[in-house]
Amino acid sequence: MNPTSLLLATFILSIAGLFVFIWSLRKGLFDVETSGSKVIFTPDDIGHYHDPAADPHEIDTLNIQTGRRNISHSDIANRPHDHSSTLPCFVLFGSAVFWLVFASLAGLVSSYKLHNPDFLTHSLALTFGVMRTIHLNLVAYGWAPLGVLGLAMWMLPRLLRAPLVGGRFAIAGAVIWNIALIAGIAAIANGKNAGMEWLEIPWQVGVLFALGGMMIGLSMVFTLFTHKVHHLYVSVWYIGAALFWFPVLYIVAKMPGVHFGIEQATTNWWFAHNVLGLFYTPLSIAAVYYFLPKVIGRPVHSYNLSLLGFWTLAFFYGQVGAHHLIGGPVPEWLLTLSIVQSMMMLIPVVAFSLNQHLTLKGHFQALKHSPTLRFIVFGAMMYTLASVQGSFEALRSFNAVTHFTHFTVAHAHLGMYGFVSMVIFGGIYFVLPQILKFSWPYPKLISWHFWLVVAGFSVYMISLMTAGVLQGLALQDASKPFMDSVTVTLPWLKGRSLGGSLMVAGHLVFAFHFASMVVFALSTKPFQKLSLTTEG
């Protein structure tokens, strides 16, 4: 048997296995459809719009106009377990927003340097290669994970109807994580770089991440095992799996002294794509599955579809990593496998997108009034776009043009920014008023934030995708000197800096609003009166 047919046989066998497995879960899957999808609501929640970030009058009017019931909200429930995670959540969000500000400034400086290479060249910490790495690590280990973990921590006690276990541990874990990030960035800025993309932080600091992450994760895992609900809502599946996936990924990838040569490169991209596909993505999807139905007061359209989406994602996403190495010195069978699985990813992506669309259908007018919904729906749409784009980028013909170009960076921001970051923004707008028992002080700033980042992001995407395609075509044409591939990108790289500046402005507005809200809330109510507790 040659390797290709062996691969094919394994592939067919495992897909068959996957579907048998999904079928075996049908109990509690296909037959509890309606009750399962209602776990996130109290009985009163269904049938009316609800968004703590919105102007209450607007939402009331909307509810009346659309003929839906208008009752006072019971969500900030009198259920004690709901309060159990507020303080850890608050710590996670606060740190995430802090890192977002620095991360985006580092991104903007990197962007500017690419068309002004003589800007800030007098120290290692400021050189392009290091600044870019700092940007990547601040978003990949600061903003994004702390943000999505904060959302997960908010959702979990609500979804499980059980108080968070060991909230104090989680807070200590968050503190350790932040210390690790500071140490990691300091290491990179001083030239101590482990040399693998997405894993630049030295393993000695990585131990701290493992410890901090373990403390945050374990508190949620123990909560998972004490759940009181009969049914685990789809968000819980994504959160639960991600909490187990990430430690395996990080520890295997960081293991000193095991990996060698090209195997290290395949491990590198096994990690890097899985941290995207099996960590940020599932946690953000979990948030969409929670907040979107919650705001519009309507259970997810097809619960079956969401669970099919989960297991196909779990199966296919893990194996796509080698699509980062197409054309590279890695075994050919591995590239083929990753390309095929990249295409198979269309299944979970379509399942998710269709489901969200059908859930939202008929409620589009709520986008005008609910800031949370606006961010979350924008994020969900960008998930679809990023993934479909990614599936095609993995095809050899398409990859041949885009592989080594700025197009990849555009795609990276379509996913990490358009999807993950926008979902975190939306989630924070919904959750923070409930944590602080205080409304957003300047509702106008939420609109400013939204439109600044959407405008900036659009400029960013259009310029960088254009730059990437032009660069790729120039690189493929051996009759053109290499420098042509640099020159064609310059106007578009400037466009990226423009878009990036708008995004940074949006982030500053957001961070200011976040900070003002905290200051106002703390100055009007004594600390203990806030629901900032770790116990119910």
């Binding site: 060698f260 096994w270 080594f404």
Partner: protein
């Protein structure tokens, strides 16, 4: 409880498939690949230069993986060398394949540009050599001195006319010299063995020398 266990078990199984494919199988397939005879391990200076390459983030703009397919279709015609194979990275931990070609591939830069002076000057200020380059200069790897103050051990960089004021010289630091030793050593021009040839070579090595 039953549901949570099924969930965790199922998701660990899917992850283990992925780990087999991307970590374990490449490990097994590649662990016995011998180093090509013509490939020399890094000298201590080159190894330090390689670390400098990592520390300064050169990988953000440069790949080290010429190819003949896909995005690498023009590589050979650009003089970037033959397609690289796994064995070429025998001494690389980690390999610095890179994902961006904001600058050219550097896997065979030592072939293409053997001049130490060119590299030093280019690192100091790329735009003295390639107008319009977007590569940053790395002035912190160099020292500007008065001509009169240079000592015998100083490696003075010969720059194009007018690059710095009269009476001043640019002296390369230790790290810059190491980096250039690494770059000029980047030559992967020896022929690649076919799998059969590699097998034969391994056999021949294992057996008592015969005269075939």
């Amino acid at each position: 409880m039953e549901n949570s266990l099924k969930l965790i078990a199922g998701s660990m199984v899917t992850l283990s498939f992925a780990t087999c494919a991307l970590v374990a199988l490449p490990f097994l397939q590649l662990k016995d690949v011998p180093a090509p005879e013509a490939l020399k391990p890094y000298s201590p200076g080159q190894a330090r230069g390689r670390n400098a390459y990592i520390a300064n983030g050169c990988i953000a703009c440069h790949t080290q993986q010429p190819s003949t397919t896909g995005a690498g279709i023009a590589d050979a015609q650009r003089g970037w060398g033959r397609a690289s194979v796994a064995a070429d990275y025998h001494y690389d931990s980690p390999p610095l394949l890179g994902t961006m070609r904001t600058g050219p591939d550097l896997f065979n830069i030592g072939e293409r540009q053997p001049s130490e002076d060119w590299h030093l000057g280019h690192l100091y200020q790329p735009r003295l050599y390639v107008p319009g380059s977007v590569m940053p200069g790395f002035p912190y790897l160099f020292e500007i001195k008065n001509k009169a103050e240079t000592t015998k051990g100083d490696r003075v960089v010969s720059l194009p006319e007018g690059a710095i004021p009269d009476g001043k010289v640019v002296v390369a630091g230790e790290e810059a010299l190491n980096l250039v030793a690494y770059l000029t050593g980047m030559k992967h021009n020896y022929p690649v063995l076919t799998p059969e040839e590699a097998k034969l070579a391994a056999l021949r090595k294992a057996r008592v020398p015969t005269n075939d």
